[in-house]
């Protein structure tokens, strides 16, 4: 069997492409479980299409487990891993990982202020469901550090690279189609989205990388994922670009854990700041959330919270804005930034292969570059381009149906991420991580985020959005007039 077919890069592309293609078949993944923020445990998990698949949440989780176990064990067999150890290990990995994902959605942990009423609880830590990633990481750290023999035994199934790269390929398909989903909003804020891309990739990244390398003395391996985590989209960016520069898996995952923690702080502080200082500039505030708050969940939650704050202030003065206008802006800015993670990973992969890992005095043979190049990025780029082009060609109804299917498929991406976090936590030695300077990592993160990224993001948001107001909601016609008609 050819060696390329036995690589995790290849299997990540195969797995990711298969998930996306199956997702395009209507309701093919309607049975896949989705975790909701919950207070009643019985309401925590349900199929993504409960009207089509009226099965209990637990059964849909079981289906998901069996499907993943079967396919991944086959892949592990092709790659030459021990089938028995992989299958048993994956069972444990899935049980713990998915358990953490569900627990992370517990209302008192995940609940953000805009969702507390719906959950019927007075308070919540506001960590969003992405707290599940942190719990998975923490669980992995406990297993790896306090039960090292168990961790060693599970190592066969902890295929970090495979899981990470599969998730990234799935992201390519999902975002490719999503880019065609908001035609009007996309037209209106195209320039703002482009500005966000320029800002995040060309300015934030470069400044944070320079700070990490020159001031804090980080190695390239740490500085690149760190710069990506702070500058771009947090978790996805750190992991994708970490793979592009061939950083050890532990590096982007530790950066990602910081991203999630800091995004919580941002989620609390930035909407409050916007309420105090930007109540007359709603669209500046909305774009600022998309530019400054890391992780999609936290950014979009921040947009929603900020909208509720600013709309309520405006309503006191008799102005009622169209609902969701700010939240849509935040989401679009964030999605625009997300879209270019793969492109930036390709850029960094080329710079690293040609300019940094290249040996002096030697040419760089194509074969060598190809060997170093993270090939899963092609899976991301090709899938993104294909879905984008298809989305432009098909009818609105078909695109909507495809989008729904891909949102179902996106649940796999979340599962692969949570498996990744658990697997890497399990492989991380805490003492070793301390030696590698996690405290210093947090310091450079805090300085970059609160000293530069937030303020520059505010400046650019103001430049592009000041004076722009959300459309006002159409007033409801008096009942008498309606009856008169």
């Amino acid at each position: 069997m050819r060696s390329w077919f036995r690589s995790e890069d290849t299997w990540a592309v195969i797995t990711g492409v298969l998930v996306v293609l199956l997702g395009l078949i209507p309701n093919a993944f309607g049975w896949v479980p989705k975790v909701n923020e919950w207070v009643d445990p019985l309401a925590s998990v349900a199929p993504v299409a409960p009207k089509v698949f009226a099965i209990p949440g637990g059964v849909s989780v079981l289906f998901l487990f069996v499907a993943l176990l079967g396919f991944l064990t086959f892949g592990a067999w092709v790659m030459g891993h021990s089938v028995k150890r992989f299958a048993i290990g994956f069972t444990v990995l899935f049980a713990v990982g998915y358990g953490c994902w569900v627990l992370g959605h517990f209302g008192y942990i995940a609940g953000t202020p805009d969702k507390l009423n719906k959950l019927g609880i007075p308070w919540g830590l506001g960590l969003t469901g992405e707290a599940g990633y942190l719990l998975a990481l923490a669980s992995g750290l406990v297993v790896g550090n306090f039960f090292p023999k168990v961790g060693e035994w599970l190592r066969e199934s902890a295929r970090t690279e495979w899981y990470i790269k599969t998730a990234i390929v799935i992201v390519g398909g999902v975002y490719g189609l999503k880019a065609t989903q908001f035609p009007e909003e996309t037209k209106q804020i195209l320039a703002r989205g482009l500005a966000a891309i320029i800002e995040a990739y060309l300015i934030y990244w470069a400044v944070v990388y320079l700070l990490a390398r020159k001031v804090f003395g980080f190695s390239r391996e740490w500085a690149a994922p760190l710069a990506s985590g702070i500058s771009i989209c947090g978790v996805s960016a750190a992991i994708t670009t970490g793979a592009a520069v061939r950083a050890r898996p532990v590096v982007p995952v530790m950066v990602s854990s910081l991203v999630v923690l800091f995004s919580v702080v941002e989620l609390v502080l930035l909407p409050l700041g916007a309420r105090l200082f930007l109540k007359d500039e709603p669209m500046v505030a909305a774009a600022w959330m998309g530019l400054a708050v890391k992780t999609d969940g936290a950014a979009i939650s921040s947009g929603a919270i900020t909208e509720s704050f600013i709309y309520s202030e405006a309503a006191k003065e008799g102005v009622n804005y169209e609902p969701k206008a700010m939240e849509t802006t935040t989401t679009t800015v964030k999605v625009f930034i997300d879209l270019f993670i793969g492109v930036w990973a390709v850029v960094l992969g080329i710079v690293w292969a040609y300019g940094i890992d290249r040996k002096p005095g030697q040419g760089v043979p194509f074969k060598d570059i190809w060997a170093r190049f993270p090939k899963f990025v092609f899976g991301y780029v090709i899938l993104f381009a294909a879905l984008f082009l298809v989305g432009l060609q098909v009818s609105k109804a078909d695109a909507k149906q495809m989008q729904t299917g891909l949102e179902y498929a996106d649940q796999f991406r979340r599962v692969f991420f949570v498996l990744t976090f658990f697997a890497i936590g399990m492989g991380a030695n805490l003492r070793r991580l301390w030696a590698e300077g996690l405290g210093k990592l947090a310091l450079v993160y805090a300085i970059s985020l609160f000293g530069f990224v937030i303020w520059f993001g505010l400046l650019v948001s103001w430049l592009f959005f000041h004076g722009v107001k959300p459309p006002e909601a159409k007033p409801k016609e008096p009942t008498a007039v309606v009856e008169g008609k």
Binding site: T160, E161, A191, L194, A195, I198, E199, Y201, L202, I203, W205, A206, V207, Y209, L210, R213, K214, G217, S219, R220, R246, R248, P249, V351, Y354, G355, I356, N429, R432, A435, E436, V460, L463, F464
Partner: protein
């Protein structure tokens, strides 16, 4: 990558004796090229959208 993963002891040793990595020309090009291009493009975009 995992096959080449060093042991904890090896990594700790490597980290301890790790020397500062000077900025390579490729890194300088990446950093300053990015910032310059970013500022120029932001200005151009502002001009194009008539925001200035």
């Amino acid at each position: 990558m995992s096959a080449d993963k060093p042991t904890d002891a090896t990594t700790a040793e490597e980290m301890a004796k790790q020397q500062a990595e000077p900025l390579l020309p490729a890194e300088k090009w990446l950093i300053f090229g990015s910032i310059t291009l970013g500022l120029v493009l932001l200005g151009l975009l502002l001009w194009l959208t008539g925001a200035l």
